[in-house]
Symmetry: C3
Subunit: 147 residues, 3 copies
C-alpha cells in the first residue's frame, strides 16, 4: 500500500469518526428528519388560544413547506378540551392532521379528568405525559412555541 492511499484512508476514517461522534455529543440536531421542527404547547382552557395555536402551526407550514417541517401540537392540562369530541375547533384539527401536523393528547390529563379515549376526537395521538413530550422534543432539536 503506498503512502498516498494510507493518508487518504486516515482522512476518510477521521471524517467518519467526526460524523459518528458529533450526534452523540449534541441532542439539538438529530442526524435524520426534516430540517424544521416545531413543537407547540396547548395547556390553557381557552378556545381562543386553541385557534391561535392552529394558526401558528399553519403559518409555519405555509411559510416553510410541509415537506421540510415537522410540526407537533401537545395538548395537556386545562387545554385538553381542545381535543374532546365536542371541541369547537374539531374541524380545524381534522384538517391539520390531514395536512401532516401531529396532534397528541396527554394520558396523565385524561386520567386526572376521568376522560376515556372514546370521549376524544378520533385519529389523534397520545403521549404518556404532555410535559415530558415537550421536554423530549426540545432535546431532539424541536423549537418550542407556546402560543
Amino acid at each position: 500500500m503506498n503512502q498516498h492511499i494510507l493518508a487518504r484512508r486516515a482522512f476518510a476514517a477521521a471524517c467518519t469518526a467526526a460524523l459518528l461522534l458529533s450526534p452523540a455529543l449534541s441532542h439539538a440536531q438529530p442526524a435524520s428528519g426534516k430540517p424544521n421542527k416545531v413543537v407547540l404547547q396547548v395547556s390553557e382552557g381557552d378556545a381562543k388560544k386553541w385557534g391561535l395555536a392552529l394558526n401558528n402551526a399553519y403559518n409555519v407550514q405555509n411559510d416553510l413547506g410541509a415537506d421540510t417541517t415537522d410540526l407537533e401540537i401537545v395538548v395537556y392540562g386545562p387545554g385538553i378540551g381542545m381535543l374532546k369530541s365536542d371541541s369547537p375547533v374539531a374541524g380545524r384539527i381534522a384538517s391539520a392532521m390531514k395536512g401532516g401536523i401531529k396532534v397528541v393528547a396527554c394520558e396523565n390529563t385524561l386520567a386526572a379528568q376521568k376522560l376515556a379515549k372514546a370521549d376524544m376526537l378520533p385519529d389523534i395521538g397520545y403521549v404518556p405525559a404532555g410535559v415530558v413530550e415537550l421536554m423530549q422534543k426540545q432535546q431532539q432539536g424541536y423549537a418550542y412555541i407556546r402560543p
Copy 2:
C-alpha cells in the same frame, strides 16, 4: 513528498473536516455572534404583558451587558397592538431600540388585521412570519422566553 508531510496533511484535513462538519450538525451554537442570545415572544393583546416583555429584555441587557447580548422581541397575533403608532409603550420601545434591542413585527399579522406599515411605530423591523422567526432564532441558539 515524505511520509511525515503526508500524515500531517491528513491530520490538518481531518481537523478542517471536523470544524466544517460540526456546525452543520448543530444549530444550537453558531460559530460567530455574541455569547448570549435571547428571543422574546409577545403574542397577547394585553398592555401589561408588553411592559413585562420590555422589563425582561432590559433585565437581561443590564445583567449581561449590551455588548455580549443579542436581544430580539418578536411581536405577532393579538400582540401586534404593542407596535402600532398609538401603542401605550411607544416611548419604551424607542428607548429599547436605541439601546440595541431588536424589535420586529409579523407581516402575516399585518395582512390579517389589514394594517399598513404606516400604521406602525417607525424604525421597527419586519419578519414574514413571527412564529417562523421564533423557530429560526431557536435553531440559531437563541434562548426562548415567553413573558
Copy 3:
C-alpha cells in the same frame, strides 16, 4: 517510523480533535449531569398557574425518575407571590424541594417589590435575575416549559 504507524497517529489525533472541538461548538448538551433537564417559568400572579407548574414538575419527575432528571422552577415578576411566606402553595413547594426540585426566586423582583428574604418561604434559592437564569439554563441544555 513506518507508514502504518504514521497514518494511525494521524487518525487518533483527528479523533481527539473531533472530541475536543465538538463540545466547544455546542452548548445544548453539557458533558456531565443528569440526562433530563427541565426549567419551568412562573411569572404570572395567578395561583392556578402555580399549581399547574408544580403538577408539571411532578409529572416529569414521576415519569422519568428523580435520579435522572434535573428540575428547576424559576419564579419572577408577578409570579413572586408563589414564594412569599403566605403562599397558598407553600406546603407543596416544601414537598417539591424535599423531592429534589430546585425552586429559585428572582432578586431583581424582590428589590422592585420591596420584599426582603425574610418575607419569603424558607429554604428556597435565589438568582440575581430570573430571566437570565432561564436563558442560561437553556444554554446548558435544559428544556424550557412555561406552564
